[in-house]
Amino acid sequence: MVKELTGISAATPSIRALARKHGIDVDELALELEQDRVSEADVLRKVNGGSAPSSSSGYWDVDHTQYGSGEAVPMSRFAQLAAANLTASQQHIPAVTHHDKVCMDAIESFRKTLADEGTKRGIKVTAMVFHIIALTKALQKFPTFNASLKPGGKELWLKQYCDIGIAVDTPHGLMVPVLRGADRKRIWDIAEQLSDLAKRAQDRKIKPEEMGGASISISNLGGIGGCAFSPIVNPPEVAILGLSRTAYEPVWNGTGFSPRLICPISLSYDHRVINGAEAARFCAHYATLLSDPRRLLL
């Protein structure tokens, strides 16, 4: 910290005086908050809230060895960066998650018909490709989902392009490369680029310009399992779509139960920009597009 290293205080003279009035040492507070500087707000938070300052590092400052043996393993730089983004998202975005189900029967039967051609082209068309296409269509109908809040919260920036962030699980942590111009691409192109991005993410070969600036992101846990989750919005985006495992479920058809291939979807959204009814409509529209893929042509 600055004071330790240079002898120069972490706060301005007026903030030091304020802190002194309350019996607070700003340089100790800087260490506690793990900050280079201490603001007036930090001091007042310390005065009013006592031991729960913004970073609450105190909660984690525990001598674990008193409970048993263990080992400290460093967090990668990558994981630390992701952690900062995730924390910022949770602190600043009033997010709500809306759950829905999408019937994938029609997509699945269409997808199977592409298998041969796919083998010839050396491209595997996954269900994810259709999710991306459906998402681009849904964004066209619901422009506020393809938006970002401007600082100060007085303006909404509506994006006139459609780039989809793809959350990828890699050995070194979570990465979100972006598939640019997804609304202008064909099934084969999307399939090819999707596998390319996924592979390069695994190898840590994603270029900086291939990250950031997405319209919306997709996090697909379908390959692993689960029936619902609450993805965290990747700021400054306003929504993220989570996909869980697609599986057969009995669905009442009016006279009896019939097996339907169901994909559970979880849409987390920034409630400052999107209200609940809109999110429900968005999901319903999305489900319609995939349950009858002809509608993707409309």
């Binding site: 600055v2 290293l5 240079t6 002898g7 120069i8 205080s9 972490a10 706060a11 301005t12 003279p13 030091r16 002194r20 009035k21 019996g23 280079d36 500087r37």
Partner: protein, 464 residues
């Protein structure tokens, strides 16, 4: 002998003392200010900062006149009238000390002319023209300052051997003048006397003049002083002094090994804290062998209700440090919470050109292993400097790399002391490279060099 009941007593009416007295009065205390001088202001106003700056102004004006030829302005060779100059200097001093008297009156501070000593931890004995007075106090602030160090074994009562006070009296301009000590005071006296025609020789024990200042700026100052005709001997000392009716001869050793024959000598080897002579042990106070009273950040001495501020508490012996401490002491004595909590104390040498610095200098950052970056802008590339006489100049900024914050600054050049103010504030406010680089500085000004130096650190400078 009657005992006079006093509430808040300040011993010493210099910048630390009067600040403590006035602040305490403003906070509702009944204040008595004691000083042996008939005028307020201490060394600073009476025989230090203020008269020296008056003479330095005169010296600069005198030198400027002779520099005007290249501008096509020819004046007659300037003549010195020391009597008028002394009177002018003295009138400036009395304006300021008179102003202080008004400020004291306005606050109903009673001023007592005399010399105080401690009887015990609640009583002072004051020797005045009307005899001894005993004061019983609730609170006392010791602000007795410092005095020039007198070299042992030197002849006493020889008017040709002066300290800074004697030098500022400006009795005459000696043809050949030796200055022992190349610190700020010695350098300022060299600036004055060399401008008025003395052949000045500076003898300094350390390996550089202005010890403690930035090494690179100091090298520029060294050259500038030589250009003014000063001879500078670093790594040298005076071993013996002999006087004859006509000359004073100094036998020197070290880098300069020889005898210097001069008409006068100024001793400027430092100042000694005035902690002794107060009989402070009667109050239970400890005075160290250097005459210093130790204090904490609240200006407390360790004895209840006894505070100390300014030069008497040790280095750096600077008026602005004393003033701030005076306020801290007064506020604490009045139940406020106040601390002297900064190491960022600016220093200015009013040489020609001026040199000013604050915070952590490059050599200190290096010695303390601070991860830092230095950026500097030479004034040879400053339009404002070139259009106003083109004195040597350099703005050097020291940045803490991990946080990009400004941690130190050093400037040599015209008005360096004025320019430093922005940088001291920047350090205290935690300003970063971009804060300074992105703040618009007017063109053409000398303050631009600050922004340029920051831009150099940011890699965005287009003026070099």
């Amino acid at each position: 002998m009657s005992v006079q009941e006093c509430d808040f007593v300040v011993v010493g009416a210099g910048p630390g003392g009067y600040a403590a007295a006035f602040r305490a009065a403003d906070l509702g205390r009944s204040v008595t200010l004691i000083d042996p001088r008939p005028t307020l202001g201490g060394v600073c106003l009476n025989e230090g900062c203020i008269p020296s700056k008056a003479l330095l102004h005169a010296a600069e004006a005198f030198r400027t006149v002779t520099d005007l030829d290249e501008w096509g302005i020819s004046l007659r060779k300037p003549k010195l009238d020391l009597t008028t100059m002394r009177a002018k200097k003295d009138s400036i001093v009395s304006t300021l000390t008179g102003g202080l008297e008004q400020l004291a009156k306005k606050r109903k501070v009673s001023v007592l002319l005399g010399t105080a000593t401690f009887s015990d931890a609640t009583h002072l004995s004051v020797e005045t023209a009307d005899g001894n007075q005993i004061l019983c106090f609730n609170t006392v602030v010791i602000a007795t300052g410092s005095r020039p160090v007198i070299l042992p074994g030197w002849p006493e009562d020889d008017p040709r051997i002066m300290d800074s006070t004697g030098a500022l009296a400006l009795r005459e301009i000696p043809q050949r003048l030796a200055i022992v000590g190349g610190g700020i005071i010695g350098l300022e006296m060299a600036t004055v006397y060399s401008a008025f025609g003395s052949e000045v020789t500076i003898i300094e024990m350390a390996d550089q003049i202005a010890a403690g200042a930035d090494e690179k700026c100091t090298r520029l100052l060294h050259k500038a002083m030589q250009a003014h005709g000063c001879t500078i001997h670093c790594n040298s000392r005076v071993d013996r002094v002999e006087t004859t009716a006509k000359t004073v001869s100094l036998a020197c050793s070290g880098a300069f090994d020889g005898t210097l024959e001069v008409n006068a000598v100024i001793q400027a080897v430092g100042r000694r804290a005035n902690g002794d002579g107060l009989l402070a042990q009667n109050a239970g106070l400890q005075i160290d062998p250097a005459g210093v009273i130790k204090i904490d950040a609240e200006c407390k001495t360790g004895v209840a209700n006894i505070y100390a501020v300014g030069d008497v508490t040790g280095a750096p012996m600077l008026a602005h440090r004393a003033t701030h401490q005076g306020k801290v002491a007064a506020e604490n004595a009045c139940g406020h919470k106040s601390v002297f909590d900064t190491d960022i104390i600016p220093a200015v040498a009013y040489t020609d050109p001026e040199m000013a610095w604050a915070g952590i200098l490059p050599q200190q950052a290096k010695a303390r292993n601070i991860d830092h970056q230095v950026s500097e802008f030479p004034w040879a590339a400053s339009g404002r400097n070139l259009t106003s006489g083109a004195k040597p100049g350099l703005t050097r900024l020291v940045w803490h790399k991990p946080t990009q914050r400004l941690i130190g600054a050093s400037i040599i050049g015209s008005h360096a002391g004025e320019l430093l103010g922005e940088l001291v504030l920047a350090i205290e406010m935690g300003a970063t490279i971009d804060d300074l680089a992105l703040t618009i500085h007017a063109h053409p000004t000398l303050s631009e060099t600050t922004a340029f130096a920051a831009e150099l650190a940011a890699g965005t400078c287009t003026d070099l």
